[in-house]
């Protein structure tokens, strides 16, 4: 029998912290986690301050969206990532955005699981022909108003892959791109700047620039 017998002596009423300790023990936390959590809480956030947003990008973006659309998007954006055939370097850096250091969500930006919930399609990679239809379907699924952000040199113009038989070129060949974030891959800081510019572009609801060019609609290659 491995049970140790109860000590015979009466120890009196339990000390006041016993219930807390029992409750914590019941959570089956490993003994080292709790002090670490406390330490993490006490040492304050490890998050970098948000980068400044370039005004020129913001005004260019404002011109692309009418006031009604801006009002509907509000100052928070739901982002859906769509990989159109990247080398996965851009994805690595996008994933960094949700981490503690960049902490996208504090700025009103969050990743969502479906294009149907998205205001922004964040597209990485050259426009691989094998992805054309899927990308256009994702775009059609996203409710209007919507932004398309091309992330990385590949998404910009096909990057090093631009001359390949398997690639259409940049994402702009397949979808109407609103904003390009260049780099191979762009750093999370640069991406954050671009995304914040999108949020900023929703700021003014008054002035609507006149004579906005209509945005081109992409079509399915295989459906008339």
């Amino acid at each position: 029998m491995s049970d140790t017998p109860e000590p015979a002596t009466d120890t009196g009423p339990p000390p006041p912290w016993t219930p807390l300790r029992q409750a914590l023990a019941g959570l089956s936390w490993p003994p080292m986690l709790l002090p670490r959590l406390v330490r993490d809480l006490l040492r304050g956030p490890q998050t970098d301050p948000a980068p400044p947003v370039p005004e020129i990008t913001v005004s260019a973006l404002i011109e692309r969206l009418d006031a009604a659309a801006r009002a509907r998007l509000g100052r928070s954006l739901a982002i859906r990532h769509v990989g159109s055939g990247s080398c996965n370097g851009c994805e690595l850096e996008i994933n960094g955005l949700s981490g503690v250091v960049y902490d996208l969500e504090r700025l009103g930006l969050r990743f969502v699981a479906s294009p149907r919930h998205a205001d922004v399609l964040l597209v990485t990679g050259p426009a691989c022909r094998n992805m054309t239809e899927a990308m256009q379907r994702a775009w059609h699924c996203a409710p209007e108003p919507r932004w398309v952000v091309a992330v990385g040199d590949c998404a910009l113009d096909g990057g090093v892959f631009r001359d390949s038989y398997a690639v259409e070129g940049g994402v702009g060949q397949v979808l109407p791109v609103d904003l390009v974030i260049p780099g191979c891959p762009p750093s999370p800081g640069l991406m954050l700047e671009g995304l914040l510019a999108l949020v900023e572009a929703q700021r003014d609801e008054d002035e609507v620039p006149a004579g906005m060019p209509p945005r081109a609609e992409p079509g399915f290659r295989n459906q008339g």
């Binding site: 089956s28 990989g83 239809e133 892959f161 290659r221």
Partner: protein, 499 residues
């Protein structure tokens, strides 16, 4: 030990030291001989115009064999080496060469959306047809239904399609249909100098950019009979270990998070970001892309680089023991990981699975040790091996490897001596092959240069070629809800196989 297949290959006419050419009749015999020599590991199969090549690794190292082709077909190897099936399908899609008697004849890379068919063959035919619907292997049984996932996924990942056949929650069959990220990389490399083509190798799989660049550079150097300067070799080793550390941290955190335990991901994320910033300070790029090039390294480490890197590594070192203990002792986490997604050692062995996938299922192979290429020939390290083959084992193995890499990176940094970092490449023909251990496993690269020093043909095999079919096997009879965990624990590259 008779080793009939090795013997047969060696009887073929030697084209270069490591590659032997077989007659059609010998190739047919090879198929039978491979069945009698299961210990000869199959690494990959690819083609160029007028020939198919296959690579093996056995007791006497790397062995390549070639079948020159007059027609558009060759006897398949997949009946005796199941891992060959994905390669045979790719060879059919890219070069238009059919594997006679192969276990799977469906196209994979070619979705019917390129302007031409067999784009790497001598005469690509224009593609006039509508893209066909993909065909999936059937699963029969009462109440079996299909769950399609992708190519656009719920998380931030690369594109790929998964087709599940499920019965209730139980997965009867999983099939990965990839090829969405096909960028035509092999075609882009042709006709370029190794220096110019290195940027394509660096972008085969961004998370393994150092490993692929190194394998590519080493193959070019072998073809040109060139040894890069010692400082460049040490820097390559440093970068490769840093890449391993960063990737292991990333997946460690993500795996815990997928199982609902967020804290390790927060900590791993902070440590990894500090490392990436140190890498940028030391090498001018957060992922160290385009740093390893044929002839050496394109950029020397910054003067303050070693100290910056040491500081980042020390930060990881300091937190590593607690992070590991907490991950290993969290009952809720272990409950999700232990016994999930088991890859049986026998199967891992038959596929010659590399990296942590193979080593978590008992396959004791690490190119850094087994092939002892510089600088690893002069560094002491252990290669952890486990046998249980589940998600937990793959995670435990990565933690153990991470610990090794931390000390290896320190050792290599301490050995840096001033010196040259890049040699000019002679302009001449040649052929070379290399095997370099990346974080996923060994990367194989083979390259043939014409007399002008331009690439005639090249093939780069990411370890994911073997991991994808094994992920399918590991999911069999598991539950659908475990797929994200299982998939993450393999973390096979999409772009790495789509090429």
């Amino acid at each position: 030990m008779s080793r009939p297949a090795t013997k047969l290959i060696r009887q073929g006419a030697a084209r270069v030291g490591f590659r032997h050419e077989l007659h059609p009749s010998q190739w047919l015999q090879l198929r039978a001989a491979l069945g009698d020599e299961p210990e000869l590991d199959f690494l990959g199969l690819w083609a160029e115009q007028g020939a198919v090549h296959a690579a093996f690794h056995g007791a006497d190292g790397l062995l390549l064999t070639t079948l020159p082709l007059a027609e558009a077909s060759y006897p398949a190897l997949s009946p005796v080496r199941p891992a060959a099936a994905w390669f045979e399908r790719a060879v059919a899609d890219l070069w238009g060469l059919r594997a006679e008697g192969g276990t799977d004849g469906r196209s994979w890379l070619d979705h019917g959306r390129w302007p031409a068919m067999a784009p790497l063959s001598a005469r690509p035919q224009p593609n006039m047809a509508e893209p066909p619907q993909p065909g999936f292997l059937p699963a029969l049984g009462e109440g079996v239904h299909q769950v399609p996932v992708g190519p656009v996924h719920g998380g931030v990942t690369e594109p790929g399609h998964f087709r599940f056949h499920v019965q209730g929650e139980r997965v009867v069959r999983l099939e990965a249909r990839l090829g969405y990220a096909h960028k035509g990389t092999l075609g882009l490399m042709r006709g370029k100098s190794p220096r110019a083509a290195a940027r394509f190798a660096a972008r085969i799989s961004g998370d393994s950019t150092v490993a692929h660049s190194w394998a590519f550079a080493a193959a070019a150097e072998a073809a040109l009979d060139l040894t890069p300067p010692p400082r460049a070799i040490l820097l390559r080793g440093v970068m490769a270990e840093l890449e391993r550390i960063a990737n292991h941290l990333n997946d460690w955190g993500a795996l815990c998070n997928d199982a609902g335990f967020a804290w390790p991901q927060a900590r791993c994320g902070v440590l990894r970001e500090a490392l990436l910033r140190a890498q940028e300070a030391a090498f001018g790029h957060r992922l160290m892309m385009d740093r390893v090039v044929p002839g050496g390294v394109s950029i020397d480490i910054a003067r303050s680089g070693p100290d910056t890197l040491r500081a980042a590594l020390a930060g990881i070192q300091a937190e590593f023991p607690a992070l590991r203990r907490i991950s290993e002792e969290q009952a809720g986490l272990q409950d999700r990981l232990a016994g999930t997604g088991v890859l049986h050692p026998a199967l891992a062995g038959r596929f010659a699975a590399g990296g942590f996938v193979g080593r978590a299922s008992g396959r004791d192979f690490d190119a850094r040790r087994n092939r002892a290429y510089a600088p690893y020939d002069a560094v002491a390290f252990t290669v952890p091996v486990l046998r249980s083959g589940d998600v937990e084992a793959r995670l435990a193995l990565r933690m153990a490897e991470l610990e090794q890499s931390l000390s290896m990176a320190e050792t290599l940094l301490a050995r840096l001596e001033p010196g040259e970092t890049l040699l000019a490449l002679p302009v001449q023909g040649g052929e070379g092959v290399a095997l370099v251990e990346g974080f996923r496993g060994e990367v194989l690269c083979w390259m043939a240069l014409d007399e002008n020093g331009l690439i005639r043909a090249c093939f780069a095999r990411d370890p994911s070629w073997l991991h994808w079919p094994l992920l399918e096997a590991a999911m069999q009879n598991g539950i659908l809800a475990d797929f994200p965990l299982c998939n993450r624990s393999f973390n096979a590259s999409y772009s790495g196989v789509d090429l």
